[in-house]
């Protein structure tokens, strides 16, 4: 008898509670409608965009490598910014990472260390760059400072996590042998975090190179500045040439850093 009713089946819903389910669906629908209505989207302008896009792209082809010396200078500057920022960032991130490691630092210092990392991570490098450009003037120095902050946000965070995972048996063994604090650090902690730190540095050099192409747009030097200038002067063919080279360099540096990190393992 019961078999007769067994000819319907519904997939069990993701949210079992029907009230909650419909509330979530309604909420999402309301959000979509409201944002679509309130976002200041200017459709007229968007439709004109097509003709403008056609003009830009026809102006961009073929890409012009005529001013390649400008391009190379911009890139070398980006590379220098990335190298110096990686060096500075990695050095600075070591003490900050120790401050932000729960198992080593006293409470107040731990919170200070974490605070520095959170602030460094919260801001997009472009915002940091604008502030530094205002503080120390246009040019690559603002770029270096920006990317140092950017590097700290990533390297110090990862390193602090690594320090929190270290094997404390070795530290205790050193302490038991009567070693002073600094020797403990050098012999028991550093060897455990060094391979990670080198890997992180190479990774960070790669991401700094990427980011240095961007911070230049707001005046912090490097290839980004060259690109923003080309855009500002409607030199779309030069801008395309720069973009192509940026993509090429990024792919190359990604491949190289990936290879190095693979070989190190």
């Amino acid at each position: 008898m019961t078999d007769q009713t067994r000819d319907t089946w519904r997939k069990p819903p993701f949210i079992a509670n029907p009230v909650l389910r419909y509330a979530v669906i309604l909420g999402i629908a309301a959000y979509v409608v409201i944002t679509a209505a309130t976002l200041p989207l200017d459709w007229d302008r968007a439709s004109q965009g097509l003709t403008r896009a056609a003009r830009i792209f026809s102006g961009a082809f073929p890409p012009s490598f005529e001013r390649s010396s400008l391009l190379i200078d911009g890139f070398l500057e980006s590379l220098k910014i990335a190298i110096l920022a990686t060096f500075g960032g990695v050095i600075l991130s070591i003490p900050i990472a120790f401050m932000a490691a729960r198992n080593i630092a006293p409470r107040p210092i731990y919170y200070l260390g974490r605070g520095i990392i959170i602030v460094a991570r919260s801001f997009h490098p472009v915002i940091v760059a604008i502030i530094f450009v205002k503080a120390v003037g246009f040019g690559p120095f603002a770029g270096v400072l920006t990317l140092i902050v950017y590097s700290i946000g990533f390297v110090a965070k990862m390193l602090a996590e690594r320090i929190e995972e270290i094997d404390f048996g070795q530290v205790e063994a050193m302490r038991a042998a009567g070693a002073p604090f600094l020797s403990t650090l050098v012999y028991a902690v550093f060897p455990q975090i060094l391979p990670r730190q080198i890997g992180l540095s190479i990774y960070q050099l790669d991401s700094n190179l990427r980011a240095s192409a961007v911070v230049g747009i707001v005046g912090a030097g490097g290839i980004g500045a060259t690109l923003a200038n080309a855009f500002g002067r409607y030199d779309y063919d030069f801008a395309l040439a720069i973009t192509i080279v940026i993509v090429g360099v990024i792919l190359l540096s990604e491949a190289v850093s990936g290879q190095i990190r693979k070989r190190m393992k």
Binding site: P40, K80, S122, F123, I127, I130, I131, A135, R210, I217
Partner: protein
């Protein structure tokens, strides 16, 4: 010979040591090259701590008088990130399908998919924004489209890798029932990549929140416009308020995405 005395110990073989020293030396040379050839005015560098301290001094105390307006624009920023992420993940589905070796229909689509992913990923959001501001004019549309273009590559790449790693046995089983390609995708491939799909979407949303805070600096909408305005008018106390609001947004974003990850996965 049997009387050999073991009074010497070294951690590395001589060849390894030569290798290590030359890598170390190379790093020093590269840093020296960067330091000496970078175009900075060193007087400015030495004066920079003073300058930076000055700037932060001028930011104190933060001025909350414009907070209402800032929060409205902040909401707009969140909407840009959310809508752009939502559209991008939908578009990235077919791209990931094309770029995964085990699902792509033929070699041409494989390379098309890879080309889309690489060009999307290698060009930073800000550079995309420069382009779309030139096309659509300043405003939210340029921002949404820029974030979308950058996100497609990110989501598509991770999703494509997830597709390549799926268990192929259910696929084989459903092909053996005579199901069409589309139905095999819906029943055997989609369920397997769903967890990755959600995880990557949430992760990208979190990243896009940060990215959307800087769009305004190149005229592509969001809180960056107010930030740029405040900086241009030297209204440093308001800049401080905006920066604090951005930190709050980023932290809130991380909390929300952590919660979503726990709920959905």
């Amino acid at each position: 010979m049997t009387e050999q005395i073991f009074d010497h110990w070294a951690r590395f073989t001589p060849a390894q040591r030569v290798m290590r020293y030359s890598v170390f030396l190379l790093c020093i040379v590269v840093i020296y090259w960067a330091l000496t050839s970078i175009e900075v005015i060193w007087e400015w560098v030495w004066g920079s701590p003073q300058q930076i301290a000055d700037l932060f001094g001028r930011m104190m105390p933060p001025d909350p008088s414009n907070l209402g307006k800032i929060l409205v624009v902040l909401w707009e920023t969140v909407n840009i990130a959310t809508i752009a992420t939502a559209v991008a993940v939908v578009i990235s589905l077919p791209v990931a399908y094309m770029a995964a070796q085990n699902t792509t229909p033929n070699v041409a689509t494989l390379w098309l998919g890879r080309f889309i992913l690489v060009s999307s990923r290698s060009i930073n959001t800000i550079i995309w924004a420069l382009l779309f501001v030139a096309i659509f004019g300043p405003g939210v549309i340029a921002g949404v489209v820029a974030i979308m273009f950058r996100s497609i590559g990110f989501v598509g790449k991770l999703l494509g890798e997830a597709i390549e790693e799926i268990d192929n046995r259910p696929v084989e089983a459903l092909e053996a029932t005579g199901a069409s390609r589309f139905k095999v995708i819906v029943y055997a491939i989609v369920p397997q990549v769903m967890p990755t799909f959600w995880a990557v979407s949430i992760l990208r949303w979190d990243i896009n929140l940060r990215e959307s805070t800087v769009l305004g600096l190149v005229g592509a909408g969001g809180i960056g416009i107010i930030l740029q305005g405040a900086i241009d008018t030297f209204n440093w106390p308001e800049v401080a308020t905006i920066l604090l609001v951005i930190i709050a947004l980023v932290i809130l974003g991380e909390v929300v995405s952590a919660w979503l990850r726990k709920r959905i996965l």
